[in-house]
Symmetry: C2
Subunit: 343 residues, 2 copies
C-alpha cells in the first residue's frame, strides 16, 4: 500500500506540469551538490525606499547582485556552464519548457556538466532599486526621473522571438510549442535593463563567478549575448569558452578590441528564419563579421546556423523549442570537441 502510494505521489508530481503525460518520466537524477547564492552587489543608501507608514523611507539596500542556482552531477567530467537569460525573461528560460519537457539546465547536468543558472541584475530574484519610483510618488522628484522599466507584450514578442513574421502568423515548420504559449507568456517579467549602466552590472557578477569557477563556459541568450564578451574584455580569468545563443549583438570588429578573444573557443548559434527577420538578419551579419575578424586576430570562433546543419524550424527560444534537446545534444558534442577537459 505504501509503495502504491509512493507511485501515486510520483504520478501526481508528474501530472502537475502542464503537458507531462506525453513522455515517460526520465531516469532518476543523482546530484553531488546543489544550491544557490548571490554574486556581486553594492550597498545603496536611500531616503525613498517606501511611501508606506509601515516601512521606513530611509535605509540601506543591496542591488546589482545576481542570483545563481547550481547543480553538480556526481563525478563531473566537464567544465561548468553558466546560463544567462535575455530580455524580459529570467533563469526560467533554461528550465522546464512551457509544454513540460526537460529544460537545458537538467539536460546538461545529466550530460556531466555542472550547471549554473543566473537571474540578471535587477531581474527575477536579483533585486533592483525602486527608490526613483518612491521619490516621484513622494513628490521629491519629477516624473522624468522615473525608471525606463518596460514589459514586452506578446504581440511584439511574437516577431522578436520569430514565432512568425508578425502576431499571430507562424513560420512554416516553426518548432516553438505554441499550444503551450500561455505558459511561456507567464515567464515574461518587467525589464529594468534600460535603467542600468553599460556594461550591465550582470557583467561584473559574471566575471566574479567565472573566477570562482575557474573554468566556466558562459552561455548567453539574446539581450545577454554581448555580456560574455564584455566579461572577457573585463577579465579573461575563469572564462573557458563562450556560447552565444541567438545574441542580440556580437562585438563590433570595426570598433572593439578583439584581443580578449584570442585563443578563446567561441560559438555563435542561430536558429531558423533569421533571413526573414528585419531585426535579426543584421545581427547575424554583424556576428559573422565578428567571427571572421576574431579568427583573423587569433581567435577560435565559429558561427553555426542550425538549418545549415540540418536542424530546421527553430525560433529565437531554441532552448524551449520542441527539438530543444536535440540541439542540446549537438551543443554538448560541440563542447566536448571544442572545450575538452584534458586527461
Amino acid at each position: 500500500m505504501r509503495r502504491a502510494l509512493a507511485l501515486c505521489l510520483t504520478a501526481f508530481a508528474v501530472s502537475v506540469s502542464p503537458a507531462s503525460a506525453a513522455d515517460a518520466p526520465p531516469a532518476p537524477l543523482t546530484l553531488s551538490l546543489q544550491g544557490s547564492f548571490f554574486v556581486g552587489g553594492r550597498d545603496v543608501s536611500s531616503e525613498t525606499l517606501s511611501t508606506l507608514p509601515a516601512y521606513p523611507a530611509s535605509g540601506t539596500v543591496t542591488v546589482d547582485q545576481i542570483y545563481v542556482r547550481y547543480q553538480v552531477p556526481v563525478s563531473p567530467a566537464r567544465p561548468p556552464l553558466v546560463f544567462i537569460h535575455g530580455c524580459c525573461l529570467t533563469g526560467k528560460t533554461w528550465e522546464t519548457t512551457p509544454d513540460g519537457r526537460m529544460g537545458w539546465d537538467e539536460y546538461f547536468v545529466r550530460r556531466g556538466f555542472p550547471v549554473y543558472v543566473i537571474d540578471q541584475s535587477w531581474r527575477g530574484r536579483s533585486a533592483g532599486n525602486v527608490s526613483t519610483i518612491n521619490a516621484a510618488k513622494a513628490g521629491k522628484a519629477e516624473t522624468g526621473s522615473l525608471p525606463p522599466v518596460f514589459s514586452v507584450g506578446r504581440e511584439a514578442a511574437w516577431a522578436i522571438f520569430r514565432f512568425g513574421p508578425e502576431f499571430p502568423k507562424t513560420f512554416p515548420g516553426m518548432q516553438f510549442p505554441l499550444e503551450a504559449q500561455g505558459e511561456f507568456w507567464k515567464q515574461m517579467v518587467p525589464d529594468w535593463s534600460a535603467a542600468l549602466p553599460t556594461p550591465n552590472p550582470t557583467v561584473t557578477g559574471l566575471s566574479e563567478l567565472a573566477k570562482r569557477l575557474k573554468s566556466a563556459v558562459l552561455v548567453s541568450h539574446s539581450q545577454s549575448g554581448i555580456y560574455p564578451f564584455q566579461t572577457a574584455a573585463l577579465d579573461r580569468n575563469g572564462i573557458r569558452a563562450i556560447v552565444a545563443i541567438e545574441p542580440a549583438a556580437c562585438p563590433d570588429p570595426a570598433k572593439d578590441d578583439l584581443a580578449p578573444y584570442k585563443e578563446l573557443p567561441i560559438l555563435v548559434l542561430f536558429g531558423d528564419y533569421v533571413d526573414q527577420s528585419a531585426r535579426w538578419a543584421p545581427r547575424l551579419k554583424l556576428c559573422r563579421a565578428f567571427v571572421a575578424a576574431a579568427n583573423a586576430a587569433g581567435g577560435r570562433a565559429e558561427l553555426i546556423l542550425l538549418p545549415e546543419i540540418g536542424i530546421h524550424g527553430n525560433s529565437h527560444m531554441l532552448m524551449q523549442d520542441k527539438n530543444s534537446l536535440d540541439i542540446a545534444d549537438w551543443l554538448a558534442g560541440w563542447l566536448d570537441k571544442r572545450v575538452p577537459v584534458k586527461d
Copy 2:
C-alpha cells in the same frame, strides 16, 4: 587524471558558496523528478508597457501567476510541501543559507517529501505589471497613481527579523549567521504586495496548486502566514495541513469563520525573543487565540514556541538560522506524526 579533475571540479563547486569549507559535502541526492512551472495568472491589456521607442507601449501581458520549482525524491512516501516566502523576499528563503548550509528545500527532499518552492505573485520570477509607472512617466497619470512598491532597508529589517532589539544590537544567543549577513541582504527584493488586492493573488495560485497536488502541506512564512488560511477558506480541496512559520497574522477568532479549519492539522511555529518584540508579541497572542478557538470549533491546531521545547535563539528567519536543520528535523517529525501517510 580525469578522476582527479572530477574531484577538483566538485571542490570548485563546493568552494563557490560563501562559507562552505566548514562542512563536508553531503551524500549525493537522487531525485525522481524536478522542474518548474507557473500557476495562475491573468492576461492584462495595457497602453503603457513601455516609454522606450524600441518596445511598443501597447500590448498584452500576463501577471499574478506564481513561479513554482519542485523536486521529488525517489519513492516519495510523504505528502508534498509547498513553501511560501514572506515580505521582501523570494523562494530563495528556503534555499541554501547565507552562510552556505543546506536549505530546507533540499533537506525535506532528502527526508522523502516532494518539495515545491514558490515566488509569490509580483515577486522574483513571478511577473508584476509596471504599467502604472509608465503611465506616470508618460504624463498620462498622476504620481499619486504610482504603485506603493517598497524595499526594506537592513536597519529596519534587523528588528523585524529579530536579530536584535534594534540595529545593530543582537539578542544574546541569537542564531542567525550574522557573519554572512551581506549574503542575506542580497536576498531582499522590492515588494509590490501593497499594490495588490486582498487576498493576495498568490492565494488563488496556491489553491490551484494544492488541488493539482491533491494533498499538499502549505508552509508559510511571515507576510504569507495568513495565505494558507485564506486558501483553505477559498477551497479546502488539496490542503492536507498548514504549517505557519512565524506568521504575521493568524485568522481572527473574533471576525473570521473558523469552519474551513475543521479537522485540518495546523502548526503555528515561533522562534525566540518574541516577548521582547513590540511587533511580534501581539501577533503571537492573536495566533494563540486563534489556535484555541480553532480547536474549540473542531480543529487540530497547535502553537509551538521553540524555546518551550528546548530550542533557543531563533530569529524570524529560523529556516536560515545556524540550527535550521535541527528545526527542520523536528518539523519533519511533527509532520510524520500529525500528517501521516496512511498505510
